[in-house]
Symmetry: C2
Subunit: 344 residues, 2 copies
């Protein structure tokens, strides 16, 4: 759907752990914890602390108080999304928890945009979106405890210990004094994805499981909006990794859509392939969330990109469903981001 | 927030398992499976089948096709919400997965209402909301495998094997030919709840853990809307059970708000206390969802109730967080339901 009232990013933050310090985009991150523990005694609590730090950095950057924020939308990969609810409850903001697997960041932006369409428009309203993942918390939950030292397969991806926080509003005028760049970034269109069964049951090959969902969403975008490939500067997927990215380009080419020249995958951008061995790339809710803040928004705010189709990709499965041999379904909600010249 | 465009229920359905067949509201249920397996070989798959059946009954009742529905919002208690995504993917409807623990039903109605505010208003738009829970799938995930035969404590509640499905639209005129009763039911107001720490770490005492969140939400409602107690026919909470319901009334009385004469808790209404031993009452996503369809909507559609504050209550915890001794946080999103006389 096209949003009658465009939704503007006021600010964002990106937080990472040890592996993320070597990211090619590390200079755009706001904080790293070099031991991944974030000062906590369990990895699960560390992820809660990561989400709290990400949101605190966001608030501090723009000197806003948590009382001004009406709604907080959040999710993560832990069972029952406890990382987010435990991490963010101290802010005391009305809360909408989501679970879209690794697609939660885009799902959150979409629901935030819906909320900002529904509010009365005479005053500015502020909504926060936070998404995180933690490598050690995710690995022991979804696969095997780290202490087992299980060998990783070539198609497996490295769940990022990372998170991103975003603050959105519907009043363009209000963002002017806060903004630090010549271009503002707005969300003008969005769509929830369909659940697609790619017939992959291997929990170490999530890229292949999610590629058909990303393909379905992108095909829908070009069939049901007036945009052509040339109108878009970049199509940024969440965490398809090497296998899923190649598959996505192949699947779309079969439909006559060639995105290879404008496709970027956060799973392939987060780490440096030449020096970091993460097998098929990065994954996790925090992968696309941190790179939205550290890669996509900076390129839009500088004017390098004008229009970006951003779609995080999620694998809908649970440890039990994998043990029961059910195939892993994919989903890929989308938002269309545009840069807009600010007049001072 | 007050919804500028009221959101109307077109139809609903309620599905239950073996224990739910003896519910005082069983005559308003659409389907029961007397073995809780719904024809599947695992309890997890049974819950997926339950959600599919609930949504199918909804569509059949109003002779609508799944192609007419723009968005499906769903959630359940299983890890990573797989019951919903596996159960509903066959419908091929764009999908927004949520996780609000047992509060997911109200959270879904809230997000659906936001969506219907944001759409262009010249034509009718349709959104589905489905929520389920399954006793056996939940027990072995959150507490102990059923085969252990663990003794249940007096404060523990019985997770309902049940689900509810709802279809909403923003165009009042369009519901007329479909409607089967003198009153239509609309959602006019809603609010996401705050995450509240009630300092309870006992996973068998969820009612006490959630009561402070329900108290915070109800207090907010009476402080920030023009409504007084006398304007409301019923306040219906999700699954506080005996312990939580008593606690909620006590907490609100301390604030000078006496809801005891209009308070109904789905956890106390779903089963027959005289013949069904479920300890402190029912619980689960499916408890409030099925009774919204089988108890609340029928009373509003018949005109017995005119205005109802409906708030499902959720306990934000995971099996790991309980083992790590972290307290269980509560959340209670709200919607205000009104009956509206239809003119034929």
């Amino acid at each position: 759907m096209f949003f009658e009232t465009p939704v503007y990013f006021i600010s964002s933050s990106a937080v990472g752990g040890h592996e993320e310090m070597s990211s090619p985009y590390s200079s755009h991150f706001d904080f790293f914890h070099d031991k991944d523990t974030f000062g906590e005694d369990t990895f699960e609590k560390a992820e809660s602390e990561l989400s709290r730090i990400a949101f605190n950095f966001l608030l501090n950057k723009i000197k806003m108080s948590q009382e001004d924020i009406e709604l907080l939308i959040s999710g993560d990969l832990q069972n029952q999304c406890v990382a987010s609810s435990y991490g963010l409850y101290t802010f005391g903001i009305p809360y909408l928890p989501l679970y879209g697997a690794c697609s939660t960041c885009t799902e959150g932006l979409l629901v935030a945009s819906l909320y900002l369409q529904a509010v009365e428009k005479t005053k500015p309203h502020y909504v926060g979106v936070v998404t995180t993942s933690h490598n050690s918390a995710a690995e022991r939950q979804f696969r095997t405890p780290l202490e087992y030292g299980a060998e990783r397969t070539p198609t497996s991806q490295w769940t990022a210990t990372a998170g991103g926080a975003f603050l959105l509003t519907q009043q363009k005028n209000h963002i002017l004094p806060l903004h630090d760049s010549p271009f503002a970034v707005r969300i003008v269109w969005g769509r929830a994805g369909k659940v697609i069964d790619g017939a992959i049951a291997d929990a170490s090959n999530m890229g292949a499981a999610m590629a058909p969902a990303a393909c379905d969403s992108i095909r829908h975008f070009f069939c049901h909006t007036p945009y052509q490939i040339d109108d878009i500067d970049a199509i940024v997927t969440g965490d398809l990794g090497e296998v899923g990215s190649r598959l996505l380009c192949e699947l779309l080419l079969e439909e006559g859509i060639d995105i290879s020249s404008i496709h970027h995958d956060c799973g392939l951008c987060l780490y440096d392939k030449t020096s970091q061995d993460v097998h098929a790339g990065a994954s996790g809710c925090g992968c696309s969330a941190s790179l939205l803040s550290a890669m996509v928004l900076p390129k839009l705010k500088s004017g390098e990109w004008k229009r970006v189709l951003f779609l995080s990709t999620g694998a809908l499965m649970s440890p039990s469903s994998v043990l029961q041999g059910i195939s892993i379904f994919g989903i890929a909600p989308m938002v269309l981001l545009e840069s807009e010249k600010m007049c001072f």
